[in-house]
Symmetry: C2
Subunit: 455 residues, 2 copies
């Protein structure tokens, strides 16, 4: 058999021309978004005051298996995609494992992550609708960077609310967004009603994605010609991110490789949902079986310790209600936690799949994640983002298990991005100043209060 | 004809297996390095106290056209190479130019630049020789990062002297090197004799590559089991970097494309020398003609305003003398100048080629470079390093000339790296705090004093 190269690149002509909608193959569809006032499923009309029209259609579409990727988006994809599927020969050798390790590397673009895949799609539909601009929130800054790139490409205004702790830890992220013409405001801020309210209630708060979402939504619905866009959690985002999984599968198929395990880090679920999409589709249709693993931070453990219930998506409670694995919309993760994956809830689609037993979840503490990150960087050369390093940690653990058992498992994981803007966190790690704070049961019980918001 | 894709990737099997030594085709060989004491050409034996043995052989070899790339290096290359040759369709469209623009993008690795190509080679030969470690200097930090990655891969100790102004402007660069296990000292420092002397003479100096080289060399020759390695200027480095040009040429040949112009930024000459190598070879052999353009910063204009003379390579005058286009080894560029390309001299090989009329040079002011950088980022998505943006600036200018004349020139330029660690400079640019200081004739006359060191 042909030797598998270090990096499998698809040709441009082999790139996906349609996104795959995993909901189409789910028997139990994800629970609908509910109107927080009436508790009735949100209609397309209601959603259209917040989101772009075509994105609303994608959000609500549980049936169409493949949705064509517009040519403008495919052309933009061609500037930084296909991303490589890398065979981690060096890592395998250093670990001395019989496992075969592959990673899909999404970091080779200026946003530094997979987020650009959905940002360009959302900006495209906003432009097509004739909007002036969009608002959004960003945590670690990858999504905000991706969106500012996408908006700059289509000539849209871009207003970003950035979680305050990240804004302060990552001054250069702001500067990159500025290079792409976006405005960036640390959240919570005094620029919105909800921001002022949160600041009053929790003076000195370092913010959370939930707060920043509330602010961005408020600005979108109160500004002429603006809509809100979101980088994770939503069905539409998972749809766009399916390009990751489709490329991964095409690259594996090209060499006749069948993975045993697929591992992804999970915050809101965008990377994981995208990476696993076509594999999950096979599993749902009974065509193949895979061990699918979500990895989350022990400091923000929505899958492993959360409740599956209807909850608010944001702290300000201005968004629709979503049924999801959640820690409660009031949950604010420890500020010492590095980078993203800090969201209190999890994609409704992934929550349903998890609840139905189609995947499992693991929570890992922060220091071990950075140990894995540094090990990986030194062997494979790529300096990984803290988020991505959650998946690395579990992939290495699994490869070492194979070393014990002698199993030649094929492990695929998602390397969502690079850590160039996370050097403050790496510095804490090098200086031994990183801690592994994990919420206590009592703390979670407190943040669960009020759940479910509706039965 | 087959449509040229956005990105041309070679297959792994099409990657170069030998470096190309442009000196082999030069009628006028580059002038030899001279012993600063005797003014005689440095012998292999003399050089071996500073450099690794095999690297000395490569340094002195003006005859062998192709030198095999050892398998270990080729395997490392496969982790991040081949790099893409990108067709800038979007840039062409926005500029409205009939020109066809291609760029060879070397930024998709953690060092963020082409520097890794030579770093891994030099680390390999150091390891092969049984050394304990290496010392080096770094300006913008790309070379230091690349070398720390390479050393970490081969288990070598790595001591980096980083130009103080960059050390302060780029705290995160230090942290990346630390992730790869290197030690980083701001230069000039109190850790060496030459550093102490320079600090005494110029208290408060922000340093220069010339100072940092002196310190790194001193440490190497006075430490058991250490040698000094350099990221640019030397013949051996240009040899390793020929992998850039060889891949570029192979990618162009694959689609039958013949470039008219080849543009590269030039500090010490490593990227430019590597990019143009095989094209220059054809030109030297009379097989083809290309317009080859070196772009340098107006603040450090060694080609366009320097003297072609024997000079010291470092401020401390501990290194061999080299004949090159130079601003004088005492030249310290304005500290406000962003990033690399701050070296007072230019590769001896390129200097000879330039003197023989095989290429031309252009000097560009800093603000225009950042304007081009931002324009490029917004259109092509990649946030370029300030160094690389010098080439972008001239490529755009040339494409706009084609718009005037209607010429359908094919322009190839080297995009050496990304600007993720240059956000302080971008911030100065956004805040209008960037200036375009250019040395006066009087200042240059002063730094030329003492040239040529020897006739």
């Amino acid at each position: 058999m042909e030797k598998i190269p270090y990096k499998i690149y698809l040709n441009e002509t082999e790139m996906p021309t349609a996104w795959y909608n995993v909901r189409s193959d789910m028997k139990n569809k994800p629970a609908p978004l509910l109107n927080p006032g009436t508790h009735q499923p949100m209609t397309a009309e209601e959603l259209a005051s917040v989101f772009c029209e075509e994105l609303v259609a994608q959000e609500l579409d549980n049936d169409t298996p493949y949705i064509e990727i517009p040519e403008e988006i495919r052309n933009f994809y061609k500037m930084y995609r296909p991303s490589p599927l890398v065979r981690a020969y060096c890592l395998e050798e250093k670990l001395g494992t019989p496992a075969k390790i592959y990673y899909k590397f999404e970091g080779n673009n200026t946003s530094g992550s997979h987020k650009l895949n959905s940002a360009i799609a959302q900006a495209y539909y906003a432009k097509k609708q004739g909007l002036k601009g969009v608002t959004t929130e960003t945590g670690a800054g990858q999504w905000g960077t991706a969106l500012s790139m996408a908006c700059s490409y289509f000539g849209l205004d871009c207003k970003v609310y950035m979680v305050k702790v990240s804004y302060e830890q990552k001054p250069f992220r702001r500067e990159v967004m500025r290079t792409y013409g976006a405005s960036v405001t640390p959240s919570p801020s005094n620029t919105t009603n909800v921001g002022r309210k949160i600041l009053e209630q929790f003076p000195g708060t370092t913010g959370s994605l939930g707060c920043a979402i509330s602010e961005a939504v408020e600005v979108a619905v109160s500004s002429e010609g603006y809509r809100y866009v979101l980088g994770s959690v939503l069905n539409q985002v998972l749809l766009h991110q399916s390009v990751i999984g489709l490329e991964t599968k095409a690259a594996l198929d090209k060499y006749g490789i069948k993975p045993d395990m697929i591992i992804g880090c999970a915050g809101g679920g965008s990377n994981l949902g995208g990476l696993i999409a076509p594999f999950m589709g096979q599993k749902l249709r009974g065509e193949a079986d895979y061990d699918i693993v979500a990895v989350e931070p022990a400091s923000c453990p929505s899958f492993t310790r959360g409740k599956y219930a209807y909850d608010f998506c944001d702290t300000g409670m201005v968004c629709p209600l979503a049924k999801m694995y959640t820690l409660g919309s009031g949950f604010i993760p420890a500020p010492n936690h590095a980078g993203g994956l800090r969201y209190h809830g999890m994609s409704s689609t992934l929550s349903q799949l998890y609840d139905d037993g189609y995947m499992r979840a693991v929570a890992v503490p922060q220091t071990e994640v950075f140990e894995a990150a540094e090990q990986f960087a030194r062997i494979e050369g790529i300096l990984p983002a803290p988020e991505s390093s959650h998946a690395i940690k579990v992939a290495i653990d699994e490869a070492l298990k194979c070393k014990e058992t002698g199993e030649e498992k094929t492990i695929v994981f998602g390397l969502t991005g690079t850590g160039y803007f996370d050097m403050v966190a790496y510095e804490q790690f090098h200086d031994g100043k990183m801690d592994d704070y994990i919420p206590t049961d009592e703390e979670l019980a407190k943040s669960f209060a009020g759940l479910p918001v509706i039965d």
